[in-house]
């Protein structure tokens, strides 16, 4: 079936080439049938790439090791669940996933806009097909997912154990959906500039896709953070890693765009800024992909080879150069229709919010690419760590959260003293109450965390007030009971109130981040059974070791051959709180020297155990000392004396020895307050985002339209 996959890629490239020509010919020569044919190329591309993706997926699920990518990233011992996800663990497979998702989202976008802005959409089609063509070319000329080896290997290397976690099944598709969705506003932005239709219409067309991109990217980032926290052995959820940062940058500029587009819609302002943000977001999304694929920067996530560096740099150069040329050459049609009336207005707050977001993006960009910058300037590769990022991002995040509370309540055009007093009393009151409560509880250190809690209180007050006032206004207009009025309010103004819920969720999320990073207690030490230690106000006692053998009995269901761990008792003030069972999995290494090493010689992976709660998480990881002489004697004896099929006997002996005479193990223990609120905040953001992005039922829209139309006509008659 590899032949079918390769043919799919060639057909897809031909479809892209024809589609670009047809779209441009259609729009330049006013031949809509060619534009329609170009759009259908995107649909056809989605179909062809779906077949290609299915071919690869079947190869993984059926252990067809004739496919190089299957042999490199899967094995018979890899659980089926993870074999399905292993497709995108390889560079080739993830390029295919990128192109496939791009074709699917592009098809949806072009289908939904098929009757609108046809000139802009035709250019956008050409851009989207151009991007798809780029990725397909990479798969044909640089990294093909359908390369095969004969004779077919009997076994594969297996999926990287670090990736054998449920969140890893969905994290990459979410992130890639975000990246690929970012290119849709980019394509329409380029189309609007080429067609010189840069009024608010194109923004209205792409708004929903920009929001969807933001949502998917945010979800991908959150899942990545969750994976890092709940699966990796270092105990954090964000490490300012280059690949993490690469996904955060387009999310930040996308957030800025979602706010500034409202000013263009309402006031006809910020046209240059908006189109620049869209182009920057799309380009940053491509750069994010480039960072993962090129291997140009060190990252725990990056797994690409250096082979893709030149094509990506060329594409990014074309995107940046083309964007600058288009914006400069269209400056005559990008003039603002109005000016800002007052610095104390919603417009000004939105602009301030945009500046903070872009400043955050710039700081992260500088820190992420600093190794490259420093190497270019003085020939030495230097990098900056989390403290450098924290120094700049923490104050900016504080301002951002505060602005997210001010924005929803401040007046458009100009705020007067009277409406400022009316709108800010409640939020300021809640912020003040928060401060008093914190001081009363004895929280007097960590000023940034206290400031964040107060800002979050301010946001809670302002959003709560908006819902109460909106529901009251709805009751006054429609005479509905309060709960119905609240629901109708949200249903009829999804974008606005969904957005407010997102603000609330972000404030909650930042409370979790501030609390967990400022008031965390951590301890790294060696313990033997019976010994205990203190972490914050908790006592952790190592009760006894655990050991399981063969992938079938791996408690974490990741397919480890041997799993060594511990049972820990957690108590507080003498009362039992939780029992934790951290372990470390040892995986098969087909190339390992000897029958035992081939079974457990792969990269060991920590399986953390935690007691998560609303107020705090108690988190634990173990690194058992498998190098202990008593265990190594068994490994060496097994390697030298046992045949390939008998290695498991030595593993069983090793497990028994570990249970009988456990060597001292290294533990990493953390007590973090309010971590749970990061995930709750993320879910609130997701819920708000879904409300905001969800389309209104057409029947409702029609009914509303008829009513407002009659009012508009009635007022015209009065005038």
């Amino acid at each position: 079936m590899a032949g079918l996959g390769r043919a799919c890629l060639l057909i897809a490239l031909a479809v892209c080439a024809y589609g670009i020509w047809a779209s441009l010919y259609g729009v330049r020569r006013a031949r809509p049938e060619f534009s329609a044919s170009g759009r259908r190329c995107v649909y056809a591309l989605a179909g062809v790439l779906t077949v290609a993706f299915a071919v690869l997926e079947v190869a993984f699920l059926s252990n067809d090791f004739a496919f190089n990518t299957v042999a490199d990233t899967s094995s018979r011992t890899t659980p089926t669940f993870y074999r399905a996800a292993a497709v995108w663990s390889s560079q080739e497979g993830s390029l295919l996933l990128w192109a496939w998702l791009l074709s699917l989202w592009s098809s949806l976008a072009l289908f939904l806009t098929r009757k609108r802005m046809r000139d802009v959409a035709s250019y956008a089609t050409a851009v989207l097909l151009g991007l798809a063509g780029f990725f397909i070319s990479l798969m044909i000329f640089y990294a093909t997912p359908f390369a095969t080896t004969r004779p077919r290997p009997m076994e594969g290397a297996g999926l990287d154990p670090l990736l054998r976690f449920p969140t890893m099944m969905i994290h990459p598709p979410m992130l890639y959906s975000g990246y690929t969705l970012c290119t849709i506003p980019l394509a329409f932005g380029v189309g609007a500039l080429l067609a010189r239709r840069v009024d608010a219409d194109w923004i209205k067309v792409v708004r929903r896709f920009a929001f969807a991109a933001w949502l998917f990217l945010g979800l991908g980032i959150l899942l990545g953070a969750r994976w890092s926290y709940a699966e990796l052995g270092w105990g954090g959820y964000w490490g300012w890693d280059a690949v993490e940062n690469a996904s955060l940058m387009p999310w930040l500029t996308g957030t800025a765009f979602l706010h500034s587009l409202m000013i263009q819609e309402k006031r006809g302002m910020l046209k240059v800024w908006n189109v620049s943000l869209v182009l920057a977001t799309g380009t940053l999304a491509i750069m994010g992909t480039f960072l993962v694929r090129s291997g140009v920067l060190n990252s725990i996530h990056a797994f690409g080879g250096a082979t893709l560096g030149v094509p990506f740099v060329t594409l990014i150069g074309v995107l940046i150069g083309g964007s600058i040329y288009l914006v400069v050459s269209r400056r005559d049609v990008l003039r603002s229709e109005h000016r800002i009336d007052s610095l104390l207005s919603r417009e000004s707050i939105f602009i301030a919010n945009n500046l903070v977001l872009v400043a955050l993006c710039f700081v992260i960009f500088w820190g992420t690419y600093f190794p490259l910058i420093s190497e270019a300037l003085n020939g030495r590769e230097a990098s900056v760590g989390p403290p450098w990022f924290d120094r700049y991002t923490v104050p900016l995040a504080l301002v951002l959260v505060l602005l997210s509370g001010i924005g929803p309540v401040i007046a458009w055009r100009r705020a007067t003293l009277a409406n400022a007093r009316r709108n800010f009393s409640v939020p300021l009151g809640v912020a003040l109450l928060t401060l008093v409560a914190l001081l009363a509880a004895g929280v007097t250190q960590k000023p940034f965390a206290i400031a964040m809690f107060c800002c979050a209180g301010f946001v809670l007050g302002s959003i709560g007030q908006e819902f109460v006032r909106g529901a009251a206004a709805r009751r006054a207009m429609a005479g509905e009971p309060a709960p119905v009025a609240l629901l109708s309010l949200v249903r009829r103004n999804r974008r606005r109130y969904g957005g407010y819920i997102v603000h609330l969720g972000m404030a909650v999320l930042f409370v979790g981040v501030a609390a967990s990073s400022s008031f965390q207690h951590a301890n790294e030490l060696g313990l033997s059974p019976g010994q205990s230690t203190r972490v914050g106000s908790y006592t952790v006692r190592y009760l006894r070791p655990t050991a399981t053998i063969t992938p079938k009995y791996d408690r974490a269901h990741t397919g480890s051959t041997l799993s060594l761990g511990a049972i820990l008792d957690v108590s507080r003030h003498g009362r039992h709180v939780a029992t934790l069972q951290p372990s470390e999995g040892f995986y098969a290494s087909p190339g390992g020297q000897g029958s035992v090493s081939s079974l457990i010689g792969g990269q060991p992976v920590s399986h953390i155990s935690m007691d998560a709660g609303i107020t705090r998480d108690v988190w634990s990881a173990i690194a058992p000392n498998i190098e202990a002489p008593s265990l190594q004697r068994i490994v060496m004896a097994g390697n030298s004396k046992l045949g390939p099929e008998e290695g498991i006997v030595a593993i069983a002996l090793l497990a028994r020895e570990y249970l009988r005479h456990p060597p001292q193990a290294q533990f990493h223990l953390i007590v973090s307050p309010l971590v749970m609120w990061i995930w709750i905040g993320g879910l609130i953001v997701l819920g708000g985002g879904l409300i905001a992005v969800w389309p209104s039922p057409s029947a409702v829209r029609r009914r509303v339209a008829v009513r407002v139309r009659s009012r508009a006509e009635r007022d015209l008659v009065r005038a």
């Binding site: 060619f34 046809r118 608010a200």
Partner: protein
């Protein structure tokens, strides 16, 4: 390459050609439809802006003078769009 794969490739190419060439084989797409849909979308967006302004006023984010000015402006724009839709429909 097996016969099955060859047949699948031929079927795929045929399907692509059929999908992509359909608009070229059909009569020319009417540009008028596109304009009408653009106007309807514009009208719906304008109605939303009118509702938004009213909600802003009622929740204290627009002064009465600003609201009346904006509302009048938006309604006048809505009427213009309705007129253009009617002209398209005639």
């Amino acid at each position: 390459m097996s016969v099955l794969v060859a047949v699948l490739i031929v079927v795929l190419v045929a399907a692509v050609v059929i999908v992509v060439s359909a608009p070229l084989r059909a009569s020319r797409v009417r540009a008028r439809v596109s304009r009408h849909d653009d106007l309807e979308a514009e009208r719906d967006a304008k109605y939303r802006e009118i509702r938004d302004a009213e909600l802003d006023y009622r929740t204290g984010k627009l002064s009465r003078e600003d609201y009346e000015a904006i509302d009048g402006e938006l309604r006048a724009e809505a009427i213009q769009i309705l007129d253009r839709i009617e002209a398209e429909e005639r």
